[in-house]
Symmetry: D2
Subunit: 338 residues, 4 copies
């Protein structure tokens, strides 16, 4: 039995994480933290868990977490996360970090995009980026995995096959991404109120979203060249799901069919990535850990389209893939059949 | 030219009010207040007003409002509203109050439902309730009108014809009401976040919503008997609109057709209330000041169904009806053609 | 290995059924029918099944179904369903019927509400109604189970504890029910287009919905008295979920706490029904086979509120409960953990 | 009094058109056509018009239309529209055509994209494209105006200022466009059902949407060079609204501020186009004839963002602008104040 702590258990990602972990009879969720005072039943925080998990959330110290758990999922805000994780690792708790804290390799870049000094810069650069489709071999024996961002996963899964084989130009790539509102978190903000988002669409963070350097870093690593993207996120009136519509310039004469073959070959053995012929909808993968990808040749561009559920394949699901690899469970445990 | 102040200009109702008032060339919006520090352009608060109204919102004092305006619409929270209104009336500014402060006749009942002592109890009982379809004759010469609640208007418009003619039993009336999320206001709260409300429905305030005593008071007055209702509000994943599904017991043998005739006769001359044969949808009246009503005989009950736009006929639109009556404009100014 | 046919595989219920059955390694979906010509891959009909199930849908004859399957789920329209089922039963295929065909006990009542002569009247009255929470003991050895309607399940689960113990009056019960649009099926109709339903709510079939006699029949049977309800369905702009808000008159002086105890005791051993203290939202149970119920004492009424996912606990999930009981699997197989 | 016919009155665009025209006391809607048999009250087709317009829809002949109207708005499907319009023009009825029939200059291009031979090729090339912001001077004295497509208007309004001044490269422009579902019309189709579109997003017609040649034709004309765009439409779970996110390569060193100035100058006198500093949301312009535009410099691209209401500024509103110009009313009649 693996005893698990969920640090920062009040948000949407934590809820999905708990739902998935409850499907694995060999793990037990033994701790859940919140910064709120007192003890709050998890079913009060997440009514959908009523009758499914008896556990109180509380503002637990690192010592209390360590006492109860062998493994922690950190769903805390950036900076807060690294502060806790550093302590957890010191006492032997293994961690999947769902914040952005250990994704970027460079503390300066981190500071530039996140506006704060990194609390644990020594681990940057050596922490493995937890995208099993690209870095599976490095994950199992780690004590800390940096779980990818949701936009990032979508974009990387869509582009990695083509860019790593030199089939598209590495610069001037346009990623026009669309996300459901759950991606903005559960803390009350005016711009994520129902009456603001419903029946409307808008772009945000044009040219300045934090997932852009993350995408560039990973794709540069994968393709061993400098990759440069323009990333535009949009808020869509839906709960969950990301669609990335990506425009790249082919660097060869490869036909649409040939490029599709490259995608299919790349993901042939992957349990969670399906290359599809049709234009995918986010709803096709809602509530699952799947990513669906296709592409089209459109004039001088190749248009790649990828969808996933931002809370699952874009967060909690891939976190469990990483956990399963680290803990020695089959990678699909709790995730398949969907 | 009537100079108008909007007190509490940052919410959804204020926005609708401004949109409607901009259609009357003989009024000018000269003041808009917010409790936020500094001067904020109205187009920053309500991006849809960009290029349509040049006006800064600020935390204006009563003296500043008085200086700029002859007439005020108060969109402030309850209790805060009465505190300001009392001062405005003293210096001769006429007011339509969109809060609940002057709707109930009794300061004790107010305290019981709103949890605070009424700041201006002396005006309770003598303030006219601003539902022109019932109290038109009393509105024009008032200096203060209590604008009705949104659930209240829907329920009263649906029930008044039958209850005032003694065609339904005055007790045991069930009002199952459904409202769009804008009714909960624009202040950030977790339960009105998009990802909480979307694709979901729930009841709230079962048996304890503040519009229940208001409905009972007005219907009792209209029918000169003690009216008793059970009121259940629900939150619907839509921006705006209220549907009230009302179950009452007929007190006569009147047929469905006869009851429909009563509705039609009652509202025959009303510009904003349409009695319809079909089952109305809230979308039929979205963005307008109309109310659509129908009824069905269902076993031992009569089921009355009414829809309106909670922000317009349920708030800003009826406020402008009241204003038009008070200021001597045709009642439909700014509201028709829709 | 149980070989399974899904008759009428193109709709939303069939999709949920397939998803659930794929989680049981001891069953195999071997046939899926559609009235469309030719062979269509199931992944073309339901893109979310891409890569999860390799199976072609076709217009299979009863002989072809019999050849491939031991067990059939019928998701056909009413009347069409009974015509097929009668033949399937004759050759020994066991059936859960998700249509309305075998729910009512009386062929005359069926004709009155469904407008057609029943194709297989001989089985009416003896077919077991597949609501395991009430009729579990009778299900296992049946060859045909009538799966309940979605509104029906919600209403019956909410009312059965109180009515069977004589705690509420059996007549004048008002069921104000709200459903997501998937309940109206996947066949293109103007009134279920996105641009018609979105951001709107309306009632439909007031006083004349087919689930009303079904509710009355089952509650009458359970309570051994004549039960009479007024049922009003509403279309809510959400994919799935039903909320029933039910108003009944208590027949005793029982307090709210005492009535809640009755609910809790009634469902104490049930894996899928949770009695909750809070007011439940449909989203709390979306994608699961759970039903959440609570109640409130409101003046002279008791208001019972129940939510479930119309496609799962209201259709495919309960169908799998029935199947599991019939096939000898644990009742929760494929359904828990959710 | 101008007597007006609406040919094809059952769809969403026709409804908006009627709503707008009802605000002009000097016009009268005297005919409305549908291909359905018999006479159907307009309030049955569009419940929101109940009590607002007394008119029956019928399958009127050209002679009947001519008899009743001086002016026609054609909201018919492509090809059907040109067939009727040709006859209407012959007898002196002036027309705004909301179909695509007279937008393209070349009958061969029309056939390639619309799959049918053009019914009235002689008028192609000489019919004025009804985008008043670009072609106002040519509209007033026409008898036929080709009303622009909704995606087209959004894209052209966003790009015209920059491309006509040579500030962006004319090729390799990417238009990633997002539209509400009403753009797909009111005819029942599975892919526009609520339960298909809600809570989901997908691209469609990638590289092959009919508005692409229209955008290229008009921008080429405006900039007197060959303009080439890649156009990707997406279906958004909202009723109405279009957001175009456009990526172009600057051809000068102009800064973001300088490019913004160009936009502002270009539209300085336009009543319906506002250049805004913030990132616009479609909701900012819902229900109005406004278009909001902004831009950002993002690495080697300029990203232009534009929003409008596809049914109003993208269809019925601009049609009324054209009508007003043709009929001698102020261009903003019925449209401002919004």
């Amino acid at each position: 039995m693996v005893r698990i702590a969920v640090a920062g258990a009040t948000g949407y990602t934590a809820l999905e994480l708990i739902r998935i972990l409850l499907r694995n009879p060999e793990v037990q969720i033994t701790a859940a933290t919140t910064r709120k005072d007192g003890e709050t039943p998890i079913g009060t925080i997440h009514p959908s868990l009523t009758g499914r998990l008896e556990l109180n959330c509380a503002d637990l110290s690192v010592a209390q977490i360590t006492d109860r758990a062998d493994f922690a999922f950190c769903c805390l805000p950036h900076a807060a996360s690294a502060a806790v994780i550093s302590d957890l690792l010191d006492v032997g708790v293994r961690v999947v970090d769902l914040s952005a804290d250990y994704r970027l390799n460079d503390a300066e870049v981190y500071k530039q995009w996140y506006g704060v000094k990194h609390p644990d810069p020594g681990r940057l650069g050596s922490t493995v980026y937890g995208l099993p489709e690209l870095f599976r071999d490095r994950i199992a024996d780690q004590n800390l995995i940096a779980n990818p961002g949701c936009y990032t996963s979508t974009s990387i899964l869509a582009l990695a096959p083509l860019i790593s084989r030199g089939l598209i130009e590495p610069t001037g790539i346009i990623i026009d991404a669309k996300s459901g509102v759950s991606g903005a978190g559960r803390a009350p903000k005016q711009n994520t109120l129902f009456a603001e988002c419903n029946d409307s669409i808008s772009a945000y963070g044009v040219g300045g979203h934090r997932h852009q350097p993350e995408i560039e870093q990973v794709l540069s690593e994968v393709s061993e060249q400098n990759v440069d993207v323009v990333f535009t996120p949009h808020l869509i009136p839906m709960d969950r799901g990301i669609l990335a519509t990506i425009y790249a310039r082919p660097s060869t004469e490869a036909s649409e069919a040939e490029l599709m073959s490259v995608l299919r070959d790349f993901y042939a053995q992957e349990p969670f990535v399906h290359v599809v012929d049709h234009l995918p909808a986010t709803k096709d993968v809602t509530g699952t850990n799947y990513c669906h990808i296709t592409l089209r040749r459109t004039k001088e561009f190749v248009t790649v389209l990828a969808v996933l559920d931002n809370l699952i394949k874009g967060a909690a699901g891939v976190a469990v893939q990483n956990f399963n690899l680290m803990a020695g469970f089959p990678e699909t445990t709790g995730l398949l059949p969907a």
